[in-house]
């Protein structure tokens, strides 16, 4: 069973809209929560990451919201663009230097022009 549960599986958003992807975890040992973006034919690449000592992190149009008590975190993409169409994975890691990383199942985002 997956240690990080991600929803929705797919998402269609109009250009300029807000895309929201949610993740939940159970293991309180997780200490680092990244989001990865993957385009077809490529490996995933880090988009943005957060640690549990903050509740929100923003980088440009991308924001992570983190709720430690609920063991949930989410990715918000503001002003979504067709170029944002990709698969997004949340992840959580633990262990020495956060080597032990577990990924969610992924969300395929399509932004319609």
């Amino acid at each position: 069973q997956q240690q990080v549960k991600q929803s929705p599986q797919s998402l269609i958003v109009q250009k300029g809209g807000i895309s929201i992807i949610n993740c939940a975890y159970e293991n309180t040992a997780f200490d680092y929560f990244p989001w990865y973006q993957q385009f077809p034919g490529k490996g995933p690449a880090l988009l943005i990451a957060i640690r549990p000592d903050v509740s929100e992190k923003k980088e440009g149009r991308f924001t992570i919201s983190f709720n430690k008590s609920a063991k949930q975190f989410s990715l918000h993409i503001m002003d979504s663009q067709p170029g944002d169409s990709a698969t997004y994975f949340c992840a959580a890691s633990m262990g020495v230097n956060n080597n032990d990383m577990r990924f969610g199942a992924g969300t395929r985002l399509t932004v319609k022009p």
Binding site: L46, N99, F103
Partner: protein, 114 residues
């Protein structure tokens, strides 16, 4: 620029064959990882290595083994390939240490076992 290369983009093997997937990183990273990616399941960790000759099991190590004889190279071995090992295999590396958690991925190897 960090570069993680994988030996093949596409590979077709027969059931029962021994299969080697090679991964090389050029950034002197401490940690290396092997994942398999399947639709609806995301990336599942097979093994990772935090030092030469060191390895740790991930979520799905059964049917796989790994080798890290040199820091820059991490090999995934399927001792006797089976059809349920048909998948996309992704290798990654990370610097390690505080602030070094970011994993850099290779382009993947799509393995088909017939």
């Amino acid at each position: 620029d960090v570069k993680v290369t994988q030996s093949s983009r596409y590979l077709v093997k027969r059931t029962g064959e021994k299969v080697f997937l090679e991964c090389v990183q050029d950034m002197d990273h401490e940690n290396m990882f092997w994942y398999r990616q399947d639709p609806g399941l995301g990336l599942r960790l097979i093994y990772f290595s935090y030092d030469v000759k060191m390895k740790e099991k991930g979520d799905i190590p059964e049917g796989y083994s790994v080798s890290r004889e040199k820091k820059e190279r991490f090999s995934l071995i399927l001792e006797s390939a089976s059809t349920n090992q048909t998948s996309m295999y992704l290798c990654a590396s990370s610097l390690g240490g505080a602030g070094g958690e970011e994993q850099y991925f290779g382009p993947g190897t799509r393995l088909t076992v017939t």
